[in-house]
């Protein structure tokens, strides 16, 4: 069963371009240009794309913030803008830059106010809050006013705030942006935990591909407002021919070796393999002076960079 269903979703903005001192030209720019997307319950979807590709705009149309210019979108069975308040009860939203918390109040108070705003029964609220407190270590700063929290602490507060009403879909717009390594890890393992229960659908945009690798089975890449890839990370690698590499370092230089590129004056062999590296490794036994073997996974950053570039070149 799908919780998100978008067909030909489109959002245009009118921008005024200055032509001369007096003349301004109106130009219609499509930020999202016909996105089709179906997300099933419990999926964890990574939504990526270069800056200005239309990621945030898509999320805002799905959460009832922006009215689509054309096309259809339904989330949890609702049409987001006309049924905004009904939808708001069923979804959780973390927009990194737009806080849901009360700046001048301690986190604890914000959470209590949100319970009233979302009309959550006290028992449900308490059990969800307890779980978040444990998983996100909120207790050390739950009584400090939000304005005094670090970005990492605040983001943990935002995640809790978005989940206290038990949403079916959690939308996250760049949840790890600007966080240090430890906080990033905390956010990722928390989201893994949330997703693992299978009843919450996760849609997240990010520029940090490690988020995607850790969290999402499915990857949607958008560029110039259009979906350019929709599938697993493996499918993306397959499509762009990125392969695992076996790197072998030797003490004694060799002139050549079957199937390998020779580097570093014959002291390094690099194999590219599809699938298992076992066959290559088995052949290495007879080599003299074998020092080290490393198997490198295909680099997703590289693939995505290539994808962005290709999409830009295709664009008119």
């Amino acid at each position: 069963m799908s919780v998100i269903e978008a067909r030909g979703l489109r959002k245009e903005f009118t921008v005024r371009v200055k032509r001369s001192r007096l003349r301004r030209e109106k130009r219609v720019v499509p930020a999202v240009d016909g996105v089709d997307l179906t997300v099933a319950r419990g999926e964890m979807l990574g939504y990526i794309g270069p800056n200005g590709a239309g990621k945030s705009t898509t999320l805002k149309m799905m959460t009832g913030v922006l009215m689509p210019s054309a096309g259809e979108v339904r989330v949890c069975g609702y049409t987001p803008v006309p049924q905004r308040t009904k939808l708001a009860r069923r979804i959780g939203v973390v927009f990194g830059q737009r806080s849901q918390l009360w700046w001048d109040l301690p986190l604890r108070d914000s959470f209590d106010l949100l319970r009233h705003i979302f009309r959550v029964p006290a028992v449900d609220h308490a059990s969800r809050l307890r779980r978040c407190r444990d998983l996100l270590d909120l207790d050390e700063f739950i009584d400090i006013p939000v304005r005094q929290l670090s970005l990492g602490q605040r983001m943990r507060g935002e995640l809790t705030a978005a989940l206290l009403h038990g949403p079916e879909v959690l939308f996250l717009d760049e949840p790890t942006i600007g966080l240090d390594v430890v906080s990033k890890q905390a956010v990722r393992s928390f989201l893994t935990e949330v997703g693992a229960r299978g009843d919450t659908t996760l849609v997240l945009t990010t520029h940090d591909l490690a988020d995607i690798e850790r969290l999402c089975q499915r990857l949607v890449v958008i560029d110039h407002g259009r979906v350019v890839h929709d599938g697993t990370i493996e499918a993306l690698h397959a499509r762009y021919g990125s392969r695992r590499r076996v790197v072998v370092d030797l003490d004694e230089p060799v002139a050549s070796f079957g199937g390998a590129t020779v580097e570093a004056d014959g002291r390094r062999l690099v194999f590219e393999v599809d699938g298992s590296a076992a066959a290559v490794v088995a052949r290495l036994g007879g080599l003299p002076g074998l020092r080290d073997i490393a198997i490198l996974e295909p680099d997703i950053e590289e693939v995505v960079a290539r994808l962005y570039k290709a999409a830009t070149e295709d664009a008119p």
């Binding site: 009832g64 708001a88 705003i117």
Partner: protein
């Protein structure tokens, strides 16, 4: 009962405790508002030191219009005046956070500031009105007592609608700046005085086109039992506050369309 969720009350509570953490700034705000209120009193007194009559109305008669306007505007400003902050929310994209909550946008924005500091002006307006009504020599009937209540409710609704409608401009025109003030504060100045002192297209547009003439002038005529020098029949005064309902409907429509026109900003 204690557990029954009260979303708007919660917003109010949150805002109250947030504001309580800025006591000094509150004290300064209150101080400046009291001073501004005193200046309002001075303006009226100075005006009538200079002239004995305005548009054929004596000072005591004209004060009925002054009082109706002063109270209606101050009360509307107290309740919905802070809607002008929507500009800031649209500009910075903070409206996003408001839109993802299961509550109305307008009430949420109104509850994001509790302008206790503005209460002084409502008290002043009520005082001016009470004094004016008592001293204008009104021949009190049940209909006129009812009209006072109707006119006040209509006036508050009218100015509240003007606040909302002018604030909505921000959805289309982000750099809307102070243009709304031309209609809110300008409108207040307009309704403070008898409309027959204005002339030509200006009076037609503001008094009848935009409806400002029906806030204080026509109800005051009916209260004073005077005929309209501009020729409208006597019942208009009793019906005038009803115009506010039309104005409110227009303002609500403009606001709705505006929210859907919201463009958000950045990521």
């Amino acid at each position: 009962m204690a557990d029954r969720p009260r979303p708007y009350l919660a917003l109010l509570r949150g805002q109250a405790s947030a504001q309580a953490s800025y006591r000094i700034s509150f004290a300064i705000d209150l101080g400046t508002n009291v001073v501004a209120t005193m200046l309002d009193v001075l303006t009226v007194l100075v005006l009538f030191r200079v002239t004995k009559a305005l548009g054929g109305f004596t000072l005591r008669e004209a004060m009925v219009m002054v009082g109706l306007t002063a109270f209606a505007f101050a009360a509307a400003d107290l309740m919905v005046g802070n809607i002008e902050r929507v500009k800031l929310y649209v500009n910075t994209g903070r409206l996003d956070a408001v839109l993802v909550r299961p509550l109305g946008v307008l009430p949420q924005l109104l509850l994001m500031d509790i302008p206790i500091r503005k209460a002084a002006r409502s008290v002043f307006g009520a005082t001016v009105l009470a004094v004016a009504l008592a001293s204008a020599g009104i021949d009190w009937t049940a209909a006129r007592v009812g009209l006072v209540a109707f006119a006040l409710a209509g006036g508050v609704l009218f100015f509240g609608s003007i606040f909302v409608a002018t604030a909505s401009v921000a959805f289309w025109w982000i750099e809307s700046g102070e243009i709304g003030n031309a209609f809110t504060y300008g409108g207040r100045e307009f309704t403070t005085y008898p409309i027959n002192i204005y002339s030509g297209w200006f009076r037609r547009v503001f008094a009848y086109g935009l409806g400002f003439g029906f806030v204080a002038y026509y109800p005051a005529l009916a209260l004073l039992g005077r005929t309209d020098p501009l020729g409208l029949p006597g019942w208009v005064g009793y019906a005038a506050p009803g115009v506010s309902i039309v104005v409110a409907a227009v303002a609500a429509a403009v606001w709705r369309v505006g929210v859907r026109h919201y463009r958000s900003t950045g990521s």
